[in-house]
Symmetry: D2
Subunit: 202 residues, 4 copies
């Protein structure tokens, strides 16, 4: 019989509460005019391409799957059957720092082709931010985190609760799934429409 | 100049608020004793393997990356250099329904080998649930959703705000990142330790 | 200064010669009528899906890339934006033994949907072989290997030169690239047509 | 009943014959001293990392799988659990032109870290070629192709038989599997040793 770790799981529960508060905080600080621009870009795209490195790349893939379920022509940069980007296409880059080298290199090429570049980032003044036609800004530490829950409960240090890019990656996934909710409303798609495109070979 | 869609982004904001509440609700309903068993399984594993289909598979990969950053020997089922599972290994399956065919087939093989099977699921009585040594139960609709935010704001229908498995997938990502927070606390790892293992070739 | 291994690289050179002879042997034993049926299936497909496990899955992806370059609507089973298979689609399965469990399960689902199943295999009488509408048979040991090069040079044992499924995987890649050559000829595509679809974001 | 395409499959058979001859030609022109250096690099590596874009990336993955079967600590750049490269590691880059931007960028970082860079390429004087500690040169058009089979059978134009990088990609896969054959001989591994590490969860 293995011994259980001596923990009351307080860090686990605090991490989840922190993310819950953070998502609420980000929702309240979103720049709605830019989000509308992003929605227009997606709705008018010939094809949509998504890209990101590491965990941001996984978030990009999760977004692409739902866009496919909604009936968009969508590709993940780096997957096998992804074709060449054309000038009437839209490329969505995901990078918290906006400085991931490989992604900002691809952002430059995107702009040279004449395609539309949307960046989801916490850093408007970054390399990718400055290149972009449209920025969806996902604030890092928000007022909600800073003034509220964390001060009362964590007394300072809490990067161990959402290490490295965790907070950005989760919030971006929630945000992009909320973009899907908005697109469902705009296009009038039903959950059955989505299901009919969901892969059966899995 | 492209016309902006006629929307005030209420579905987008409601979707984010709903997820924020849902994460809070799930945190309050977690079965802490099972989570401790899961932590013990992970800490005592020779190697850890993770698996999931579709978006649950992406969540599995995001978890695996962080386990690698923490110094665990961890592999994603289906990636190129993933070796054979042995009986002193742990396999983490992610499946909301617990019935995803390919994953439950691999769960059976895991048990035949004699390895430990942990399943993260909303469905304790599913095929995968019944096979598992340890279950991390991620409740579907929680009291928090049901009695609170949703009733007041959405008046009934809101599956369009988190279609298909969205709610499970996001909450599971938050939960597994909270498992990472707990493992950081238990092992005493610093964010610098994590950074030192983060890939530079991206 | 690292010491060089004491080898004259004879195994390396023999392995390459063996594969060269084997490809020649397989080309001479192909069942041309079945290949024509496979070409007709591909040319008449609404969408083409490819699948395989392990190294056969990599060969499937390499084939899918070239089909995309040729302008076919093609998807890899398991990638992010792969939609549901419909009854006027074609699924290409790659499995040397024809018995890979996950792939034969997906083959059954393919047939239930009413789509056309092509299997590239060395084993006509396998589970996948029996399910298939069209079989492209890639012979295992061929007369060319058996009577020729190997007997004279290797004196028996040579599975160490092409271990596990190596011989099938390489020959299948060469065969599927030859299918591409045939499709280029039939469709009149130029190398520039292919280049114009080759991803620029890599 | 679908009509069969009007073809005698001559392009298909010629493409396979061409590759068979080309592999034979490359085997005869390999630089054995550099191959021995590559073998020494691999045998002395702490960990091995492989990388390539597009179909070269698939060939890299196929090589990585076999190195894992042989018991090497090996990772694919870009997969989920690939850790940071250290100075006593070896990175194998695959690029026919030696100029693939993303891969040569990663090659530069590899050298800055102080790790050993091996490049498999047709172009010794390329960016990657010049950066590398060890080059495995896979000749493009070889004497065997040029003087032999092609002149007699194809009368000039035959890029449609092996379009884009096809010839390099196939020959590199055969070459790297021959490296595996040589490593099997040097380390004394049996096919059963390889099988014991082959994934069961597929």
């Amino acid at each position: 019989m293995r011994e259980l770790p001596k923990t009351d799981c307080n860090n686990l529960l605090s991490s989840m509460e922190l993310m819950s508060k953070h998502i609420h905080g980000v929702a309240n600080e979103l720049e709605v005019d830019n989000i509308k621009k992003m929605l227009a870009d997606l709705l008018n795209a010939n094809c949509i391409f998504v890209m990101g490195a590491g965990r941001s790349g996984l978030v990009a893939k999760a977004f692409a799957m739902r866009l496919m379920h909604l009936g968009f022509s969508v590709y993940v940069v780096g997957e096998s059957t992804t074709p060449a980007v054309k000038d009437n296409d839209v490329v969505v880059a995901i990078s918290g720092s906006g400085e991931t080298r490989s992604i900002s290199d691809l952002g430059k090429i995107t702009k040279e082709i004449g395609a539309t570049l949307i960046t989801v980032t916490s850093n408007r003044e970054s390399t990718l931010g400055k290149l972009s036609n449209t920025i969806a800004l996902i604030p890092g530490r928000t007022k909600e985190d800073a003034g509220g829950y964390l001060e009362r409960h964590m007394r300072g240090e809490y990067s161990h609760l959402t290490p490295l890019g965790t907070s950005f990656e989760i919030t971006t996934l929630v945000f992009l799934d909320a973009i899907i909710a908005e697109l469902i409303s705009i296009t009038g798609a039903s959950e059955d429409d989505l299901k009919s495109r969901h892969t059966i070979l899995e």
